[in-house]
């Protein structure tokens, strides 16, 4: 029988610090943190092979705290261990009492875990529940690719396990045999507003996990013997889940009450709580961090140096040379061709949600099966798993229909908070998908992503870059650009084959646009598929009305300041009239140009011909556009009207 006196003393110290730090912050979740104190102490002081002094060590075990609100226990331990925070260029070491800065404006101990503000012990921001197990799966997948034998511990709450994403992650872990993941379910029986549902009882969770193909152990989460026995088990064929019964508010009677979710003790209650926890053990009891056993792998930075070469060669490699020669090719196929070429670089990985033959991630999947992770019809897990892969230095390309990525907007926002270097590709965007109808069309996507595009990370870059290819050349080059961008991108492709309009000598850069046609009367701004519809309208306008309209292809958001000013100048030169044409709801390019104009010294008028109705099916893109008043004749009429009112 082992002696756990030193660990007991550590638990005593940490419990006291958890109580103190939450009261100091005036908020936080001490009761959830206390329920995990034995498990986290076992992990951070004994089981995990890692260096608190070097949280960037690629060979180290990782801990994903999916129930992010319980983070005070991890902060308390990491401060005690002198854990390093900040950046590799500017690291700094925490001390025990830094835990008391919890949630302060100048502290890296945020309310919920977030590596992006300088807490590199964590790999992703958590706090929106149910996402951590997916991220753990991504970390495990990356470790296997890198040949690193490490464990990824992931702690999920019992209430949290109601989130469907947890079960998507479970299936993904079994499908891909990611046995490096050790899933720990913290069953303290209390959620925020009520007791946890019987559907998330330890027995039910164990039954479900077993039915999904996990090996499951139910333990007392405050029993050292049980914790070590379960978590030190040799990995078997099946992934391991440990379901731990715990006590919310462990050690402090007041905090065990159901009303204490997310609530600290008042200042005048602290003393009694500390007294109840008993006399201080020997401070700094002889607890050592386990020796790091696996050597750090040699890693290359995930940034820059990706090249897709020429479109013709890339197309030939996937058997679509004919289409390029005929200059008629969908943006999604060009995306797939670029991804396939760049796949030669083993930093690139790809994930797709059972539509790889539509997004054309298929070619990468065929040629690089080890680095392709079929995520099936489960987009939430797909995105969060990509966050894990990115945290481990991979460059994940994540594709699905743009509409289906909506399923993962919460996960995408958490990825943005994490500054995750993931490359999203939404296909079949806008209404040109036609016959399948609105359930398959991405129409709200620009409104959502543009918010992130105009929000900045701590390094000053946008939280997301939006790339809007209109033809195969721009799609090919923007996919290459996406790989080389430092951070999240969202590339928007379309279903139909469209003419190639760009010469391969053209270059494309973040924040850029192309001035495709000069005009004098009205400047039309478009992107993606609508560039082609507008080109048809331009011909009609010239022929039928003698109108000279210009055309600007906005292929990137946010627009740079220089691009914005140039576009407004072009509009100014076109009788001060800009018409923005889009086949998605408001919130995208139209708002970008209108807001710029409204805040500028140009007296440019901006109108939007955008999607203002919920679509229905029609059999061709042309019929669909006509139904939605976005067809060639609608654009012609709108342009004519703008011209007339400028007279």
């Amino acid at each position: 029988m082992a002696d756990y006196k030193d660990l007991d003393a550590k638990v005593n110290q940490l419990c006291k610090q958890i109580v103190r730090m939450c009261t100091a912050a005036g908020s936080g979740h001490p009761s959830s943190a206390l329920s995990l104190v034995h498990i986290v102490t076992a992990l951070m002081y004994r089981l995990m092979r890692y260096e608190p002094a070097n949280p960037w060590n690629a060979g180290a075990d990782r801990l994903v705290l999916s129930e992010g609100h319980a983070v005070p226990v991890v902060y308390a331990a990491y401060c005690d261990l002198g854990g390093v925070v900040g950046t590799q260029m500017a690291p700094s070491e925490l001390r025990f009492d830094d835990a008391l800065t919890l949630r302060a404006a100048d502290s890296v101990l945020d309310g919920h875990p977030n590596p992006a503000i300088g807490f590199p012990f964590f790999d992703s921001a958590t706090g929106s529940l149910g996402q951590g197990l997916s991220t753990a799966a991504g970390l495990a997948a990356a470790a296997r690719l890198d040949g690193i034998d490490k464990k990824i511990y992931c702690i999920c709450g019992d209430g949290e396990s109601r989130e469907g994403q947890i079960w998507e992650a479970v299936d993904f872990i079994v499908d891909h045999k990611l046995t490096a993941v050790r899933a720990i379910f913290n069953c303290n029986g209390q959620a925020q507003s009520d007791y946890v549902s019987p559907q998330q009882s330890p027995e039910m969770l164990a039954g479900k996990l077993g039915a999904c193909g996990f090996e499951v152990r139910i333990i007392d989460g405050h029993d050292w013997e049980a914790i070590f026995e379960a978590l030190e088990a040799a990995p078997g064929e099946k992934p391991l889940a440990v379901v731990a019964r715990t006590v919310k508010g462990w050690g402090v009677t007041e905090l065990k009450q159901h009303t204490y979710h997310g609530k600290p003790l008042k200042a005048d209650q602290v003393e009694a709580a500390l007294a109840e926890l008993g006399p201080e053990g020997e401070e700094g009891a002889d607890v050592r961090v386990a020796q790091l056993q696996s050597p750090p792998a040699a890693t290359r930075p995930a940034r820059a140096g990706f090249a897709a070469g020429g479109l013709a060669e890339a197309a030939a490699a996937v058997g679509i040379a004919d289409a390029v020669e005929a200059k008629m090719l969908s943006t999604r196929r060009a995306y797939g061709a670029a991804l396939n070429v760049m796949g030669a670089d083993d930093r690139i990985v790809a994930l797709d949600g059972d539509v790889k033959n539509s997004t054309f991630a298929l070619w990468f999947a065929t040629n690089y099966p080890d680095r392709y992770f079929e995520a099936r019809i489960a987009e939430q897990n797909m995105v969060s798993a990509a966050v894990g892969l990115a945290a481990a230095g991979k460059v994940p390309f994540v594709s699905s229909f743009g509409k289906f990525l909506t399923r993962a907007y919460d996960q995408i926002e958490m990825a943005a908070i994490s500054s995750a270097n993931i490359k999203l590709s939404g296909s079949h965007c806008g209404v040109s998908l036609a016959a399948d109808g609105p359930s398959q069309m991405a129409l709200s996507d620009l409104g959502f992503f543009r918010g992130l595009a105009h929000s900045h990370r701590s390094d000053g870059d946008p939280a997301c870059r939006i790339l809007l290819p209109s033809d195969a050349v721009s799609a090919f080059k923007l996919t290459e650009l996406a790989a080389n961008i430092n951070g999240m991108c969202y590339t928007r492709t379309h279903r139909p084959d469209v003419p190639i309009i760009y010469d391969e000598s053209q270059t494309f850069e973040v924040g850029g646009y192309k001035h495709l046609e000069d005009g004098e009367d009205v400047a039309i701004v478009a992107s993606g598929y609508m560039v082609h519809v507008v080109r048809e309208a331009l011909a009609v306008l010239e022929e039928q009305a003698g109108l000279s309209a210009g055309l600007i292809d906005v292929y990137s958001l946010p627009l740079s300041e220089a691009s914005t000013n140039e576009i407004l100048q072009i509009g100014d030169d076109c009788r001060g009239q800009i018409l923005v044409v889009e086949d998605n709801y408001v919130g995208g390019v139209y708002d970008e140009i209108a807001a710029a104009a409204a805040g500028s010294d140009f007296g440019v008028r901006v109108e939007g011909r955008v999607l203002r109705a919920i679509p229905k099916s029609a059999r061709t893109p042309e019929e669909t556009l006509a139904l939605l008043e976005l067809g060639v004749s609608d654009i012609v009429a709108a342009t004519q009207k703008m011209f007339d009112q400028s007279e």
Copy 2:
């Protein structure tokens, strides 16, 4: 042994029509449809108690086709049965060959099911996968409230069952004992890009469903005896799931090939397929729709007639009279008080995702437990279940932290496509939540919802109304307004207590705003919590700089045309300067005003002081706002700058 000759003949007819209609459309999913032909025939010709001539009959059984792409089989049967489509005011009866209009611009047979365009047999739009079982649960919940003994059949695909939401729905059904739901899993073994994962095999699905508390039967989905035996089983304690092994492309060798997902036969392949299906049975074989057994319930329209009364009385009813007297109350508490009063009307139901003590749905939950559905930490299921409740005539109020509703944006968009009358309430929006950090803050929400707000349903109304209360009076009255609006609303509340600024005599209407302060130098537009921050800034501006800035509270989006013009006029009168202040990312009120200005004849300049950084924790709202350059002094400086440049 029963004789199924008539049904076999019907299957033959339907299979042929499925082949023909998809080829006519040039797209569609004949192979998925064929895999369901026996099950759907059994349901629509024998098992379901309903009237094809009156799909609005509230007493009838319902069918939710979660795997919406398989819809041709339902269309073919419904056309054969002379099913009625259109609206109750303008119904029309389908004929057998109307099936051939599949996906045409003027057909109600959309690519995926959608009641909103005139196919009332369905209750919700499907096609984005994994949502139907939740909607079925909502329909079952409504039926129980109405005392109607009906069954809700729901067909899910095997590949689709990878979506976590399916498992959220399963838990919800068990939690709430919704045994009226009959879940049918169509295991044809083929997904779009690959075979279905072993994790979704019939055996695994059955094991998982059993572990979740379902009674499960595995059957051959082309065996009449097995189908009827399983689906006619008397309801037990446990909800029933039928896992059916089926053949994708049943009856047509060509369509059984794996490459045929979502692909019709070419015109020249049709004849061979029809020949393979064998000689036509007797047309119109003696198959009768089962007698409708349960009487239609008396129902009241879900629209209008809701009243919340006075705030003081409502507050007293929930024990917060003091706060109203002190004129200091959070918008979320006022929301809860209004919901509680309106709960006296039994059309109102509520759902919340384990944060009812934060959103204050708690009061309704306490007083109307039968009409409160605790959805636990599973927001996707919560929203889709609300769609089912709304389809059955209830008026569901659905609350969570605004951030966590992001989890359900895909479901919300599907609800918008369905024209579902659901009332969403996101609490803790913007950055005033402070200490909890960005994982708990709704910041992208306005960008997403504004796209829907500017998109219109077939009746011309916006697909969503956004309500932005700034104080308790406006929150109270806007919650009442939400109940009375015909369609989806999103009400945005905040965490902190704020002063009451409106008198109860004020009225609030869709598309409206309030001109709170007159000014001469700059007009400031704000909403929600930021109205209070701007009020502080106004005082400083007047005192320190002698500047007279106006204040407009935009409490509703989309703004009406009249409101828009009035706001621009106010700006015009303030030296042509409007500053919009928001604590969310771009895409909301700032874009609304800027786009209006850019397209107007007013020469108004619009600038935005909005959130342009990913937040981190700070201990108070004031500290958080200061970190993000949205504090009082930042607004003062921005206003001063606008004034200076107007000089």
